[in-house]
Point group: C2
Chain length 248, copies 2
Amino acid sequence: MGTTQLESVPEPKYWHLKTVIGEALDSEFSVGEVLPNERELAARFGVARATLRQALEQLELEGRLQRRRGVGTTVAPPRVGVDVSTAQAQWPGAGDETWEPVDCALADPPPAVARLLELDRSAGRPVHTVRRLRVSHGQAVAAEQLYVPAATVPDLTAIDAPSGPARARSVLRELQRLTLDGQDRAVELGSARADDAKELDRLPGAPVLLVTTRYLAGGRTAAVSVATYRADTCRLTFGDAGDFGIAS
Amino acid sequence: MGTTQLESVPEPKYWHLKTVIGEALDSEFSVGEVLPNERELAARFGVARATLRQALEQLELEGRLQRRRGVGTTVAPPRVGVDVSTAQAQWPGAGDETWEPVDCALADPPPAVARLLELDRSAGRPVHTVRRLRVSHGQAVAAEQLYVPAATVPDLTAIDAPSGPARARSVLRELQRLTLDGQDRAVELGSARADDAKELDRLPGAPVLLVTTRYLAGGRTAAVSVATYRADTCRLTFGDAGDFGIAS
């Protein structure tokens, strides 16, 4: 989508090269195919290695190429649409099988999350931090941390394990007993944390899409979710998207 | 949001450095302040230039830093929430003053847009391509191309100018006469085209958030919008976001 030209604007050399390589990908390469190495590509297109690298970085940002350690640069499959619409507000884990609870621990939330939860340094910490993975087409596409202050789930029993998937499910169950007033959601660019990167088969610091969700109950923020989506393979879809082309 | 640790995972050196610098930004620097040069920073933190650069790139992805030609690296202001929710389906330009029409031309849409518009190479081209800018807090935060096939606006008169803002408004007016059945929206990572980068005061190829919207009327895709949002300064908000913290 990012390669058309409405009016002619002077473009840097690597940008033109990106377009040329993009067309070559369409016509000569198939998904998953490994590209020739940088030296060969630079020679073929008659450009400096630095220029070639810039063009390849563009194509990676646009999801056309994937660079993987030990494999090299491969032609990426089309991005997969992942629905993140908030059409009907519902608690995490309520009737969606897309997310798998993998862990739960008491942790001190990052400052930005603490602000959203309106926790001050003195009170309400640490919070239950549920770790979930979202799998789509057999691939982990997102890793989430769901922050639930103890005050939100006062009836959470201490009987079961203090951590692990079972604990995560208990916290989600307690959440679902509350009336959800609404939720809001924001998407922004971020960089993959080391632990998320590992789960998502990316390198630490790779560009990711961060989806932050606030769950509102009892007139306050009852929980905050921060989900890290693979930016290379995912397109986040909203609204009536479900049954249309963009979403699939 | 991307810097917390739920469980301890071995992290690359630059990642730890990123956290350390992030804390220094909070405590020692103010928004807009120019950072010392890389040599000084590398010396201060006792790391190699390459490691420092990786850390700075992370902080840039996370919107903590902005690198601008001729200015250097400055501390970025908090990202601004920009509402892109599709709560009520609406034609572009219908009762929103957030977008300013700047141009209109007949253009051949990029292949991905042509597919969404279900145009084949032979028919329905070129399409009216409306160029709009979204300004927030006095800054251009997004540049849009709205693709409207001639078949969607058959009554568009040829009387007024063939291009320019006036033409853009005519196309939008014609669109708004149609009944909008619905719309879907997708967000993905992209790289800034040269002309968008210029409008958005970014360098060509900078990471951006691409928001693609399909407008559905008469049982088909009547128009497609591709909006390029600044990823460094914008957080895209959805759902009930309007009146909550994430959105502002």
